[in-house]
């Protein structure tokens, strides 16, 4: 390529370039500032009266955001309508729970097995399911959820704990740290899991694999005809998603000191779905934003009880139909305007009457 051409290419920056070199859209200063803030935050928060409470919320946010992001990776990006996410979380949770509770392992060792077993479970669900299309995936993953629930409730005693789940699992111990000191360690551990998951998912979305999955979602026929192996792409995504979901499950068990069978209740699925839909279905930052919003708002609305559920249902339906990308496009536009290191390339115009089965953009 001549120097002249390179310059021109740099100026025009076709759309694909962004996928090939995603870091160009990321301001290192912004990322650094956010990371620094999150590192320093506990030391500031714990000076407040409600600091411990806020820290708990943040830890909850980290865990939920990991699960929501993983789910969005397969559902929003991959177009796999899987409802097995909570079940995979439970698989992770139970794995390290049982290892610690029944075999007396150290939680820090046991948690390493959570993602592995979750991935094995994902392969088990994925192999028969992911060759099939939408509605079948919905049903089979719901079936897996239900099977997992029945097994957790009625299975052998070291799993079911008599129907309630594992109630007294040893929590993470950091030397002799107790109280706020221990909360800080827990916070850093959750934050680390969150950071790794977020980075990997971001990287996947912008990798060739990510391009393949977006192509499959937007025009399946075309993508397949260009030689993309749909089954393999879906399988890889599903596995990555299960890995982090299982890890979050393991953390959650040793954070809470147990895992209850109520985790399989339908509202848990709805909460996660709400995070993705409100934040932004099929967008990178959507689930993170959504997790923050849902957890934050929950604290205020929890007193409303069933009115909250009613409202949540209607909000979900309304956003899904009238603003399918949720709130993320708003945030993204602000980021592009004020923080992005390079100006946004002019958007490619796509008319709604495209000839093939295109789906959502981005």
């Amino acid at each position: 390529m001549s120097a002249q051409a390179a310059v021109t290419a740099g100026v025009i920056r076709p759309k694909l370039d962004e996928a090939a070199a995603p870091w160009r859209r990321v301001s290192l200063y912004t990322v650094g500032a956010v990371a620094l803030l999150l590192l320093v935050l506990p030391w500031v928060l714990l000076r407040l009266d409600i600091g411990t409470y806020l820290m708990t919320l943040l830890i909850l946010f980290f865990v939920q955001a990991v699960v929501a992001q993983s789910w969005n990776l397969i559902m929003g990006y991959g177009g796999i309508y899987s409802f097995a996410q909570v079940a995979l979380f439970a698989v992770g949770g139970w794995t390290s729970g049982v290892l610690v509770h029944s075999l007396g392992w150290n939680p820090f060792i046991a948690i390493l097995f959570s993602p592995i077993v979750a991935v094995i479970a994902a392969l088990g669900i994925g192999l028969p399911t992911l060759r099939l299309r939408g509605v079948y995936v919905v049903l089979l993953t719901l079936a897996f959820h239900e099977l997992a629930r029945v097994f957790a409730v009625t299975g052998p005693r070291f799993i079911s704990g008599g129907g309630y789940g594992l109630v007294t699992v040893q929590t993470f111990q950091f030397g002799n740290a107790i109280g706020d000191q221990r909360t800080i360690y827990l916070y850093y551990l959750a934050g680390l899991i969150f950071a790794v998951a977020t980075f990997v998912i971001w990287r996947v979305i912008h990798s060739p694999l990510g391009v393949a999955m977006t192509a499959l979602r937007d025009s399946e026929t075309y993508a397949v005809s260009r030689g993309i192996n749909q089954f393999r792409v879906r399988m890889v995504l599903f596995t990555i998603s299960a890995f982090f979901t299982g890890l979050a499950g393991g953390y959650s068990t040793h954070y809470n000191g147990g895992i209850s069978t109520t985790i399989f209740d339908f509202p848990r699925i709805i909460d996660l779905l709400a995070m993705i839909v409100i934040g932004g279905w099929g967008t990178f930052g959507g689930p993170i934003l959504g997790a923050g919003l849902v957890i934050g708002i929950d604290q205020y609305l929890v007193a409303l009880g069933d009115y909250q559920t009613l409202l949540l249902g209607l909000v979900l339906a309304t956003i899904a139909v009238f603003a399918p990308q949720g709130l993320w496009p708003l945030i993204r536009r602000m980021y592009e305007t004020y923080l992005a290191p390079e100006p946004l390339a002019p958007p490619v115009e796509v008319s709604p009457a495209a000839p093939h089965d295109t789906k959502d953009e981005l």
Binding site: V348, E349, V350, S351, A353, A354
Partner: protein
């Protein structure tokens, strides 16, 4: 009866038709000739509301029908026999025909209409109970034509009547279209073969890369072999 003014249409980011002007008079046979991929199908789809036009007007008896839904345009008597036939594959031959008469006023006369279509394509009657997906290519085309004729059509838009058919069947198809025209039907046919349509055409338009480049009486244009050669190759 039908008039198209400055019609612009396309898919996605691309524009296929760049301002088409044409008209069809009562009882007239109008042919749009053009090679594959130059916008014939798009033109018919834009007229009958399957593809919302981006600009321009479609008038039926002076009434603006540009933004009507496909079903309303069909109810007004502009019947489109689409490319690929688009039969109801899991319905029988008779059921397919009956659906052609779905529109309220037509439905009450459906038996009389069935009779007329059977006259044109007698085999449809014998094979009435057969599922449409089991038919051969030529049979499908005839069924699609018959289904269109079940309606109260005043203007028939036919997309490449001979596409993908064996020569002998092609002849049959054009013969039956000819009969329909003799019954007083107005026709707008998109085709790429000048020889097929010679008997049907009163006027001819030549379509090239989304624009109409020539218009004239059929006996004049269709006789100009050099001209046709250069456009249709």
């Amino acid at each position: 009866m039908l008039e198209v003014r400055g019609l612009v249409a396309g898919y996605g980011g691309g524009e296929v038709l760049h301002g088409i002007d044409l008209f069809v008079n009562e009882g007239e046979g109008v042919i749009v000739l053009g090679p594959n991929g130059h916008g014939k199908t798009t033109l018919l789809r834009a007229i009958t509301g399957l593809l919302p036009p981006r600009a321009g007007q479609v008038l039926l008896d002076g009434k603006d029908i540009t933004h009507w839904k496909a079903e309303a345009i069909a109810a007004a008597g502009v019947i489109h026999i689409p490319q690929g036939d688009l039969l109801f594959a899991e319905m029988t031959v008779t059921e397919n025909l009956l659906m052609g008469a779905y529109h309220g006023p037509t439905w009450s006369e459906r038996n009389a209409r069935l009779g007329r279509v059977y006259e044109l394509f007698p085999w449809l009657k014998e094979r009435g109970g057969q599922l449409a997906r089991t038919l051969s290519g030529g049979e499908r085309r005839m069924l699609a034509l018959g289904r269109g004729l079940m309606s109260k059509a005043r203007l028939l838009l036919i997309d490449e009547p001979s596409l993908g058919l064996a020569p002998i069947i092609t002849q049959q198809i054009y013969a039956s279209i000819h009969k329909v025209k003799q019954g007083g039907m107005s026709l707008l046919i998109a085709d790429e073969n000048a020889n097929h349509v010679a008997g049907l055409a009163d006027r001819v338009y030549l379509l090239e890369t989304g624009s109409l480049v020539r218009e004239g009486p059929a006996d004049e244009l269709l006789r100009d072999k050099a001209l046709l050669e250069s456009y249709l190759g």
